[in-house]
């Protein structure tokens, strides 16, 4: 599995928590640590400086100011103690704090992979995660994570400012304690509504699960695996399929030209995956009643019934499409075929008492008993997550295939084959019925996933975040064409207008720069043209999206 944003957050927290507990250090190491804490503060400020990651201007402004002040304090602490003899940065502590800063920088880079900014300055989604990451609750959760890290950094500053070393200059101590106060006062985003407070853990889980926006490597099913590995591998296959299925809101090509064979194979495989999932849910329902009294058991029973309807719908659409053919011959394999195969193998190994289960008749085995399926609450959550990921992905697959079927049928690219071999199978009207069958299949798949959302959340399954991901609004064509400038590009444009070599139309340039700035950062003062030359922009637009303005 590829790295997730949560791993970077955890690494940063782990590195900082050690710094908060220091009791004594050489003064030169305190100063070296202050330098690294300033790096850390800079890394946090890069999140804060990006309006896309913040829930509201008030919090963004407050946090930005506090971070600015803290960075300044840490700079003063370092300057006041510069040149002190001793081990300095050779001590492990500054390196650990530096690792925290690096982890946060890498985390922001990871989040940035989910967006892209075109030459027109418009930021667009690059993955199926993007829409959710842009929602206010997700931004609130991100600010909460950053606020927690800032509190850890504040503790570290306070501990460093209180080391007994007499060689540590008074100015450094004062500056470190000031930085501590400034970092500790970074407010988390306000949670005005009860629902928002309740949803925060799910959104935090979502943030921790965000991978980079690239297709993770496939892991085919091979030797028998433990339950945790099986569940993890199912979620990996599901994530790969979500990535392959997703298309940007301004157009895409799903599925690629080989239409009918793609949908047909997927429909058969989806029927199998759903068919395996039904007894899993039934077993989990029974187990949940024993292990976790509450709403999860009945909700899982309801989900099992919905899953039964869903696999029948998939089977129906698979059977119907088996009697049709494309008007153009394509022989490219379905793009999600391998992943669906992996997913089916792993789901089968979760459901059946055969660790080497495959769909082959030679590997058939009895279903596991509920107690074998989920011996304890942790296993119940793992199995539920695997089924949840499966259902979520099949829902997306059904929706994507429906859109493609509608387009293909509408343009006459599917026909009822009338060649002699099929004459006895002729069933007029099937082509026109196919979109309706797919609609029913999509609706059935959607009901299953919605039915699993509740028990996933109530049992704190590691897939709970899927519920909020699906509820994120899909950006429309109209919204992507709004003049939402990428912050970096906006800054660059404004500064470029200000600092570029003067020419006769400089008045127009200044006016244009002011206009750009107001559109991009309403309410914020525009930087003056007399700013330090060190802050002048480069001659070409920045490739990185992170602003560099920090004292």
């Amino acid at each position: 599995m590829t790295a997730t944003f949560g791993e970077f957050l955890d690494r940063a927290a782990s590195c900082l928590s050690g710094a908060a507990g220091v009791r004594d250090l050489p003064s030169s190491t305190v100063i070296a640590s202050a330098v690294q804490l300033r790096r850390f503060t800079t890394a946090v400020s890069r999140y804060v400086a990006d309006p896309r990651t913040f829930p509201a201007p008030a919090e963004a402004t407050t946090a930005g100011v506090r971070l600015y002040q803290a960075a300044g304090s840490l700079r003063r602490a370092a300057e006041a103690g510069a040149g002190l003899p001793g081990p300095g940065a050779a001590h492990p502590l500054p390196q650990r704090i530096g690792n925290a800063a690096s982890a946060l920088t890498a985390g922001l880079d990871l989040l940035a992979t989910h967006f892209t900014t075109g030459n027109d300055g418009v930021t667009r989604p690059r993955s199926h995660w993007a829409a959710t990451l842009a929602t206010p609750p997700a931004r609130t959760a991100l600010l909460a994570e950053l606020s927690d890290l800032a509190v850890l950094a504040a503790s570290a500053c306070r501990a460093l400012g209180q080391v007994p070393s007499p060689a540590l200059p008074r100015a450094s101590r004062d500056a470190l304690l000031a930085a501590s106060s400034q970092l500790a006062s970074i407010p988390p985003a306000s949670r005005e509504h009860h629902d928002q407070r309740n949803a925060e853990p799910v959104y935090r889980q979502l943030l921790h699960a965000v991978p980079a926006a690239m297709l993770p490597p496939r892991e085919p099913a091979g030797a028998p695996e433990g339950l945790a590995d099986l569940s993890e591998a199912v979620s990996l296959s599901a994530e790969r399929m979500r990535s392959l299925i997703w298309q940007p809101p301004d157009g895409g090509t799903w599925p690629p030209p080989p239409t009918l064979m793609t949908w047909r194979w997927s429909a058969h495989a989806a029927a199998i995956a759903s068919h395996i999932s039904e007894p899993i849910l039934t077993g989990l329902a029974e187990r949940a009643r024993q292990l976790m009294p509450g709403p999860a058991g009945p909700a899982l029973s309801h989900a099992a019934i919905a899953m039964g309807t869903s696999w029948n719908a998939w089977r129906h659409v698979a059977s119907a499409s088996a009697m049709l053919s494309d008007t153009v011959a394509w022989n490219i394999p379905p793009p999600v075929r391998d992943d669906l195969t992996d997913l089916i193998d792993r789901l089968g190994r979760i459901a059946y008492a055969n660790p080497a289960w495959t769909p082959a008749a030679s590997q058939r085995a009895p279903l596991k008993s509920p107690a074998e399926l989920a011996p304890g609450p942790d296993e119940l959550r793992m199995v539920l997550a695997a089924v949840h990921h499966t259902a979520d992905t099949l829902t997306r697959l059904a929706a994507a295939d429906l859109a493609a079927v509608q387009a293909a049928v509408g343009t006459g690219k599917i026909r009822q084959d009338t060649s002699p071999a099929y004459s006895s199978l002729s069933m007029p009207g099937r082509v026109s019925e196919l979109p309706r069958l797919y609609e029913l299949t999509r609706d059935a798949a959607n009901r299953v996933t919605e039915a699993i959302d509740l028990p996933a959340i109530t049992t704190s399954a590691p897939s709970s975040y899927l519920a909020v991901m699906r509820s994120a609004p899909v950006p429309s064509q109209a919204s992507t064409s709004e003049p939402a400038l990428d912050p970096d590009l906006a800054r660059f444009r404004v500064l470029d207008e200000l600092y570029a070599p003067r020419n006769p139309d400089q008045v127009d340039r200044a006016s244009k720069a002011a206009s750009l700035w107001r559109a991009s950062f309403p309410g914020r003062p525009m930087p003056s043209a007399e700013a330090s030359p060190a802050r002048r922009p480069r001659a070409t637009p920045p490739q990185a999206r992170h602003p560099r303005a920090i004292p």
């Binding site: 059977s319 769909p359 008749a361 030679s362 058939r364 060649s419 071999a421 006895s424």
Partner: protein, 135 residues
């Protein structure tokens, strides 16, 4: 011996005839369709075989369509027989694989050869799915 096994045997023995390839493709397409309908009819009878039979139906449809798309050997008209029980399908698929592999070797047109190869691969996967001993 089913009607389809007879047809496959006759098609194999007649491959060298001028119309042997066309006949073989027609027989193979019809056998694929018989396998598909058999798999669909029996898919509800044993939950433990649901996955194997669903994938069999998918592979059979793909194999049938691969032959229908070939350049010259067009499937001939054949009346479908009664649905075949799952325990007969594995053997039929193995015989089908043999016929299509032989037909691929005799095809002059690369498109025909490729179509027969694709269809043979589908038949081979059906056999692997349904063979009780896994062989």
């Amino acid at each position: 011996m089913t009607k389809y096994e007879d047809l496959l045997r006759d098609a194999m023995s007649g491959l060298a005839r001028p119309d042997g390839l066309t006949t073989a493709a027609g027989v193979a397409a019809s056998v694929f369709e018989a396998i598909r309908t058999g798999a669909e009819v029996y898919v509800d009878t044993d939950p433990g075989l649901f996955a194997a039979l669903m994938l069999t139906a998918a592979e059979a449809a793909d194999g049938r369509d691969a032959l229908a798309r070939a350049g010259t050997p067009r499937p001939a008209a054949l009346a479908p027989g009664p649905p075949l029980a799952p325990d007969r399908l594995a053997g039929l698929a193995r015989a089908l694989t043999g016929l299509l592999a032989a037909a691929s070797g005799r095809a002059d047109d690369p498109a025909d050869a490729a179509a027969c190869e694709r269809a043979a691969a589908c038949a081979d996967r059906i056999h692997a799915l349904l063979a009780r001993d896994g062989s």
